[in-house]
Amino acid sequence: MGFTVIVPPPTSKRTLSLGVQNAPEFACLPLKINLGNFMEARELGADTIIMAGGVGPCRFGLYAQLEKEILEDLGCHYEILVLEPPERGIIDFFKKIRKLTEKVSWWRIIQGVRLGYKKACFVDKLEILVQEIRPRENELGTADKIFAHSLKTIDKANNLDELAEAYGLAKEKLLHIPRNEEKEVLKIGLVGEIYTLLEPFASQDIEKRLGYLGAQVTRSLYLSEWINEHLFGGLLSGAVRQGFSKHAGPFLNHFVGGHARESIGAGVLLAGEGFDGIVQVAPLTCMPEIVAHSIFPSVSDTLDIPVLTIYVDELSGQEGIHTRLEAFIDLLWGKRFSLDHEKTIC
């Protein structure tokens, strides 16, 4: 559409450190990383930020406002355009897009949005495949290497045909990975706050770790689903759709912001589908997830499914998380064997 898009460098320790120095102490981890990303993008010459907004009660809705204030105080002058969810007025939403894309025709805008959205959908589909292969592959890490490479090819695709080709190729490669189909694996539902679920750096690769420890992971949220629900009001098709939130009752009967209902709902639904355990991951002080965390013990009791809650913050020691996941996996195996009479001795 005639913009130079500056992608901030992948989130690193430096990003986090920049964010932590300038963000409020008790703000949640995504804000700190986000702020660090913006500061690093600034070093590369970015002058406008486009980000999503929200209307509460989760803090995410005020990210843009607070980040602008912080950046201004630091002397970084950014133009920030916030895309609010369409509930706040679809006309306003289009006006903002218009302001951004002054001379570009609507046709090209729609094409651009469609391509971006399709990319997200395909990436999600590949990711589900990777989650399935990870615990079963003969050589750990093969699927992740292929996935990382296909992300690049998908990113380079300029139109739908190229995109479909890149996707097909990646899928083909993933399906040819040598693996042990008969291997017994645990099934774990990964639920929690969206940013920590989607950004491996923030959650210290919890998803990968679980996969390598022999568990097939299913997430409660995928990016394409979020884009569809949050920015387009569910109008688009093709997203990975799960609709977990309606299963949250009777444990959590009201929307509390963020993805607390999805977390609880996913827990309830996956327990019914015979999953072995649930891992909840959230940034420290995340308000909605604290509500979900407080309610999980009763979900766990009622439906007999073990739940592990992990809060992530700027501490980057990895062994703590790894040990906890290992212990959790061991317990889950223990539980499965104790239910399986053929394998129990007494």
């Binding site: 409020p24 102490e25 008790f26 703000a27 949640c28 907004g53 209307v55 509460g56 009660p57 989760c58 803090r59 809705g61 005020l62 843009a64 406002q65 607070l66 602008k68 204030e69 912080i70 105080d73 916030v82 444990f251 959590l252 009967n253 009201h254 929307f255 509390v256 912001g257 963020g258 607390a260 420290l284 002080t285 995340c286 308000m287 909605p288 604290i290 509500v291 965390h293 407080s294 309610i295 013990p297 009763s298 979900v299 809650t309 809060y311």
Partner: protein, 347 residues
């Protein structure tokens, strides 16, 4: 025997006590309110919720546990989603009834009507559910609600008038340093939770200001300039108060009280601090948690007050022309009484 309804002395109790109490009493119930917060409350509450929950929520659970000893028939835990258009209360408060039911403790039946005025101002279903255990007569309920609303409004107005009345205004001309105590009501008025900060500041010679001494309208007006409307009722209250207070003339200070892990305070508190910093008003940010050592707080308050008092009055060379007061004239618009202190009068 009357039906006994328990209300924990925590969280929104401090905002709506008169309202709930009058409402249920008028409908013929006996209202039980838990005692003042003490060490036991905190200990009980801490065992009932996850560690990551904030201090006021832990105290809320402690109060419900203590209320159970009085054997109420019902516990009133409304789900306060929103009390005004396009603004919420707080995720944890919205989830309270669910968290309470998920707990291991045996609870009496909960009255947990949902108050949600985010898109509509309609509270009929809230009232019906709130009164359902006492009566089904809708007219009786709406009459009780009307009277309760009047009482609550009268009380709010009284708090407002106190700051406007002339005798207080006269008292304010004394040598006391105006100090704004900023935070959620349940932090400001729970003397155990905030380690008696109100009394401490008063003893150190401060003239205490609190958010309810500024009218809702003026608070709303001052934050209209923000590029994006704040969607937390308490957040709006805090930012509006800061702006109103900073327009009062003369030297002054702000003490911000927040609780550890409060999501709203982490954002709003930071915005307030940035504003105060630019306005050149000294502020002190205090984060409350389970620590009950008082010396740390005492030292910080003392140091803060010393700093303000040693500051050179910044407008000493500013001589007012006839009829115009020193400082920002907006604070003088007849709203906040008559102020006559000079910059040095308290030194």
């Amino acid at each position: 025997m009357n039906i006994r309804i328990g209300i924990p002395r925590a969280l929104l109790y401090y905002n709506y006590v008169t309202l709930w109490k009058t409402f249920f009493t008028l409908l013929g119930a006996e209202v039980l309110i838990s005692g003042y917060t003490n060490k036991l409350t905190l200990d009980l509450g801490r065992d009932m919720v996850v560690d990551e929950a904030c201090l006021p929520v832990k105290i809320f659970f402690g109060h419900t546990a203590q209320l159970l000893e009085q054997k109420p028939d019902f516990l009133f835990v409304p789900r306060m989603v929103s009390v005004e258009k396009s603004a919420y209360i707080c995720p944890k408060i919205i989830g309270l009834p669910d968290i309470l039911e998920a707990g291991k403790k045996e609870m009496p039946a909960l009255i947990k009507p949902t108050m949600n005025m985010v898109s509509t101002g309609n509270i009929d279903s809230f009232l019906r559910e709130a009164g359902s255990c006492l009566t089904t007569d809708r007219r009786k309920i709406s009459r009780a609600w009307k009277i309760a609303r009047q009482e609550q409004n009268a009380e709010d107005r009284q708090a407002l008038d106190k700051s406007r009345s002339t005798e207080i205004g006269a008292a304010r001309t004394g040598s006391k340093l105006p100090m704004l105590l900023l935070g959620h009501r349940y932090n400001l008025y729970d003397d155990f939770l905030n380690l008696n900060i109100r009394k401490r500041l008063w003893q150190m010679g401060c003239d205490l200001w609190t958010p309810e001494q500024f009218s809702e309208e003026s608070k709303e007006d001052t934050i209209k300039t923000l590029p994006k409307a704040i969607f937390w009722t308490f957040g709006k209250d805090i930012l509006g108060t800061v702006r109103c207070f900073s327009r009062l003339p003369g030297p002054k200070g702000v003490v911000i009280i927040s609780s550890f892990g409060c999501g709203i305070d982490s954002f709003i508190g930071n915005m307030a601090m940035r504003y105060l910093h630019k306005a050149g008003i000294p502020y002190l940010n205090i984060t409350l948690d389970e620590h009950s050592g008082e010396a740390g707080l005492e030292t910080r308050l003392e140091a803060f007050l010393d700093m303000i008092r040693w500051r050179r009055p910044f407008n000493e060379d500013h001589i007012s022309s006839y009829g115009t007061p020193l400082g920002d004239p907006e604070g003088y618009a007849g709203i906040h009484g008559v102020y006559g202190y000079s910059a040095t009068s308290y030194q």
